[in-house]
C-alpha cells in the first residue's frame, strides 16, 4: 500500500509536521506494510507559484504531485492561517488535474494557534476535499497548543488520532492501490463522434 502525506507547515520544526507524523504512524500501524511518501509543501513553494503562472510543473513538483495522486490514501495537514487552510496548502491542491483525487481516501488534520480554530477542518478543509470528490474520513484531527501538553490533553488527541487512522486504514484497505488517473487517456474517436 502506498500512503501520501501532504504537510504544509511553514516553520521548522513545525507542529503541523508533528501532527502529520503522529497521524502517519497511527495509519501505518493500522495498515501494516505501507510505503509512505511525505510531501513538505514548503519545499515546493516557489515551484507551486511557477506552476500557477506558467501552467506546467517543474520535474520535482511533478514527482510530488504524482506521488499524491498515485497513492492509495492521503493524509493532508495544514496550519490554520487567518481562520482557514494556508494559501500554500490550497495551492498544492489547486494545481492538481481535475478529478485527480476523485475517490481518494483522505484524512484531514490541522494545527492551530488556539482551540477556537478547531472547526477549521469542518468549515474550510472538508469542503475543499469534497469539491475534489475525495472520500474524507468522518474523524478529522485538530491539534491546538494545549493538545501537546497539559494533564489529560494528550490522551484526547491520541484518541482522535487513533480513531481517524482506523477510519482511513479501513478505506485504504477496501480501495487498494489504484492506477493514478492518466491525463492522456481518451475514449476512442467513434465514441466522441457518437456523443455529439
Amino acid at each position: 500500500m502506498t500512503l501520501a502525506v501532504v504537510t504544509a507547515g511553514l516553520r521548522r520544526p513545525s507542529s503541523t509536521r508533528l501532527l502529520a507524523d503522529r497521524l502517519t504512524s497511527a495509519v501505518t500501524e493500522a495498515l501494516g506494510d505501507t510505503d509512505v511518501t511525505v510531501v513538505e509543501v514548503r519545499d515546493h513553494a516557489h515551484d507551486l507559484v511557477n506552476h500557477l503562472v506558467s501552467g506546467y510543473p517543474s520535474a520535482e513538483l511533478r514527482t510530488a504531485l504524482d506521488a499524491v495522486t498515485g497513492a492509495a490514501g492521503l493524509i493532508a495537514v495544514t496550519p490554520t492561517i487567518s481562520g482557514s487552510y494556508s494559501g500554500l496548502f490550497k495551492t498544492f491542491f489547486d494545481v492538481l488535474d481535475e478529478g485527480a483525487l476523485a475517490g481518494m481516501p483522505v484524512l484531514i488534520g490541522a494545527s492551530g494557534g488556539t482551540a477556537r480554530h478547531s472547526l477549521v477542518l469542518e468549515h474550510a478543509v472538508r469542503p475543499l476535499f469534497t469539491y475534489l470528490r475525495a472520500d474524507v474520513v468522518p474523524t478529522s484531527v485538530f491539534a491546538a497548543p494545549e493538545d501537546w501538553g497539559g494533564a489529560a490533553a494528550p490522551d484526547l488527541l491520541a484518541h482522535r488520532i487513533d480513531r481517524a487512522a482506523g477510519e482511513l486504514a479501513a478505506r485504504v484497505r477496501q480501495r487498494g492501490d489504484q492506477p493514478p488517473p492518466d491525463p492522456f487517456s481518451t475514449p476512442p474517436f467513434e465514441d466522441l463522434l457518437r456523443a455529439t
Binding site: V53, S54, F184, T186, F189, L192, L193
Partner: protein
C-alpha cells in the same frame, strides 16, 4: 526540399515596448505582420501562419482577409493558421472562407484547427465552453463533409440543420485543404487527428518536453491504429520560439525585458529556467539549430516546424532580423541535417500539389 516545412507563426498580439512604453497601433501591427510574411517568403521559408483571436490586445479576428492579402503579394509560401477556432466559428463559414482562399492562393493553403484559449469567446459566439470538445468533433466532421461532398444534408447538436446545401467554391482541384489539429493538452484532439489521418501540431512552446512527447506519442500510436500508416509516418508539426543574436549574451540581454513583461512568461520561472524546461531558444543561430535538431530526437521525424518570432512587443526591426537569421543560417542547415537523418518511408509535409497527385 527535404520534405520538411519551416515557417513562422504569429499570434498577432499588441504589446508595448518595455523600454519606451509605446505600443503599435492595430494598423501598424497588421502592416508589420504582413511584412513578416513577405520577409518569410523572401528568405525562403515555407509557411506563414496567423492566429485567430476575437479580443484585444489581438488584431487577428479575420485570418482569411489577412492571408488573402498576403497571398496576392507572394508566390510560393504556404499560408496557414495557428489556429482556426473550430469550436466557435460556423463550420459552414470555415468551409467557404478557406476554399475561397485556396482558390485565390493557388492552393497554397492549409489550416490548423484549435479550440481557443479565451473562455469568453464561447459565450460571445453563442457557445458553451463545456461543449469545447464536442464542438471541435462535430464541427470538424461537418467541415470535412462540406469539402468532400457536393450536396450535404446534415443535422447535429450545435448548428442549425442543412438540407441540400452546397458549400462554394468547391475546393480547388477537388482537393480540400490539408488540416492540422493543434492541441496542447487534450488527448481527444490527438485522437481526432489520428482518426482522420490528419496532421497533429503541438505548440510545444510553454510546455515541458515530457508532456509534448506523450501527446505526440499518443497521436502516432492512434494514427497507426486507424490504419493510416506506421506510427513514424504520422504527420507531426511542432512550435518553437526563438530570439537570436550573433552573440548569445546579447540575445539574452535584449530578449529578457520582453520575456519579463510577457503576459505568459512574466512572473513565472526565470528566462534561463524556462529555456531549460521548454523549447524557448534565446541565443546564437547555432544554438537554435542544435536545439531544433533535438526536437527530432525527442519527438521523431516530423513534417513541419513553425517558429514564433514576433509578439510580446518585440521591435519590428528585430523581428525581421530573426527571419533573416532563420532563412539565411538556421533553416538551410536544418533542412540538410533533417533530410540526411530522415528514413525514406517517412512522408514529406503534405502540400496541395502532393495531395492533388495523390502522393500523401
Amino acid at each position: 526540399m527535404s520534405g520538411m516545412q519551416f515557417g513562422i507563426f504569429s499570434v498577432g498580439d499588441i504589446a508595448p515596448d518595455p523600454e519606451t512604453g509605446r505600443a503599435p497601433t492595430e494598423h501598424e501591427r497588421l502592416e508589420r505582420m504582413i511584412e513578416t510574411a513577405l520577409k518569410a517568403e523572401e528568405v525562403g521559408l515555407d509557411v506563414f501562419a496567423s492566429g485567430e483571436h476575437h479580443n484585444p490586445p489581438f488584431v487577428t479576428s479575420s485570418p482569411t482577409t489577412l492571408l488573402g492579402y498576403i497571398a496576392a503579394r507572394t508566390d510560393r509560401i504556404v499560408l496557414s493558421t495557428s489556429t482556426t477556432l473550430i469550436t466557435t466559428n460556423d463550420p459552414v463559414k470555415i468551409a467557404e472562407d478557406y476554399a475561397m482562399l485556396q482558390h485565390l492562393a493557388g492552393g497554397r493553403v492549409d489550416l490548423m484547427m484549435g479550440r481557443g484559449n479565451t473562455g469568453p469567446v464561447y459565450p460571445w459566439f453563442g457557445k458553451d465552453i463545456r461543449d469545447g470538445i464536442g464542438l471541435a468533433v462535430e464541427n470538424y466532421a461537418l467541415l470535412r463533409r462540406l469539402w468532400r461532398e457536393e450536396v450535404v444534408d446534415w443535422e447535429g447538436r450545435f448548428r442549425t440543420p442543412l438540407q441540400s446545401f452546397t458549400s462554394t467554391p468547391r475546393p480547388l482541384d477537388g482537393v480540400p485543404p490539408f488540416v492540422w489539429h493543434g492541441s496542447i493538452r487534450s488527448p481527444e484532439i490527438a485522437e481526432q487527428a489520428a482518426y482522420y489521418g490528419d496532421g497533429f501540431f503541438h505548440n510545444n512552446i510553454f510546455w515541458p518536453r515530457e508532456h509534448t512527447q506523450r501527446m505526440i506519442s499518443l497521436y502516432r500510436t492512434r494514427f497507426e491504429h486507424y490504419g493510416h500508416g506506421s506510427a513514424d509516418q504520422a504527420i507531426v508539426g511542432l512550435g518553437g520560439q526563438v530570439y537570436m543574436r550573433r552573440n548569445s549574451q546579447d540575445a539574452l540581454a535584449e530578449f529578457r525585458p520582453f520575456f519579463d513583461q510577457s503576459p505568459i512568461y512574466g512572473g513565472g520561472p526565470s528566462l534561463e529556467e524556462t529555456m531549460r524546461q521548454t523549447p524557448l531558444s534565446v541565443g546564437s543561430p547555432q544554438q537554435v539549430i542544435d536545439r531544433t535538431l533535438e526536437f527530432r530526437e525527442h519527438f521523431g521525424d516530423y513534417q513541419r516546424q513553425l517558429f514564433n518570432v514576433d509578439g510580446m512587443g518585440l521591435a519590428h526591426k528585430a523581428v525581421l532580423e530573426q527571419i533573416d537569421f532563420l532563412g539565411e543560417e538556421v533553416v538551410p542547415v536544418l533542412r540538410k541535417e533533417f533530410a540526411a537523418l530522415r528514413p525514406a518511408h517517412v512522408p514529406p509535409a503534405p502540400t496541395h500539389e502532393s495531395l492533388r497527385k495523390g502522393l500523401s
